[in-house]
């Protein structure tokens, strides 16, 4: 593990973040946008765990932050899917372009 520098792990998480960003920009379907958000949260998690492992090996704070992020991501996914299913019930579509009734 010590043969891989911290920079490479950070480059990996940056690449994962921007892949999620690309998905968020190009997708118009709510479920696939939710998947991109999950990728972005995971890249932040990798950063926390890697910093804890490499820079502060005697502490546990990075682990706690990543555990809290996982819990918040689970709550967020549950609420988002409830909203998506309700939206589908009303508009018969989960495309973001279709749900523009509260726009103006």
């Amino acid at each position: 593990m010590s043969q891989v520098p911290l920079t490479h792990i950070l480059v990996l998480s940056t690449a994962l973040f921007f892949i999620g960003m690309y998905g968020l920009f190009t997708r118009r379907n709510l479920i696939t946008m939710l998947m991109s958000v999950e990728l972005i949260l995971n890249s932040a998690n990798i950063n926390f765990v890697a910093f804890n492992r490499y820079l502060y090996p005697g502490k546990l704070d990075g682990i706690f932050f990543s555990l809290f992020i996982v819990a918040i991501a689970a709550a967020e996914a549950a609420v988002a899917i409830a909203i998506i299913i309700n939206l589908y019930r009303n508009f018969k579509s989960i495309d973001v372009e279709a749900a523009d009734e509260m726009k103006f």
Binding site: M1, S2, Q3, V4, L6, T7, H8, I9, V11, L12, T14, A15, F18, I19, G20, M21, Y22, G23, F25, T26, R27, R28, I31, T32, M35, S36, E38, L39, N45, I46, V49, A50, N52, R53, L55, Y56, P57, G58, K59, L60, I63, F64, F68, V70, A71, I72, A73, A74, A75, E76, A77, A78, V79, I81, A82, I83, I84, I85, Y88, I94
Partner: protein, 174 residues
Amino acid sequence: MSESPVVFYLLSVVILGAALLAVTSRKIFRSAIWLLFALTGIAGLYFWLQMEFVAAVQIVVYVGGIVVLIIFSIFLTQQSGKDLPAPVRGRAVFSVLAVCAGFVLTCLMITRYAFPNGGNSGMDAVASVGNIGAQLLSTSEHGYVLPFEVISVLLLAAMIGCIVIAMKTKPDNP
């Protein structure tokens, strides 16, 4: 220890390839399965970093919970055999440009920054599940019991919110 970097780079290729396919695949069900592979690869990365508890949480919550929830909602909301519409060409081109610019900029910042060397001793004794649990629930100076309680209230609120949102409204007396 000599094969350790090879394992890391293999895991990185798996994670990035699966994530890229998850955001570009035209079939939504395949996209969900690629997301599953990416999240499993990230759990493998945590194992490689010797953070076994975080890896277990990643597998249980993400792979076992969130991806299954996403697959259920795909089945509930659309025909999974149908292709998604392709992104608008202009938007795709500008997204690729913006994402590449951001990636290059961030990588420049990362490679320029000199991280201090923290040393690597005594980690295995600290990151055990017992220590994590003890510090998570301790009320002393470095304890995390208050965020723990707050997050349990948040989960309760999310549960109630899901029930309220998904509840069918009764039609008023016709």
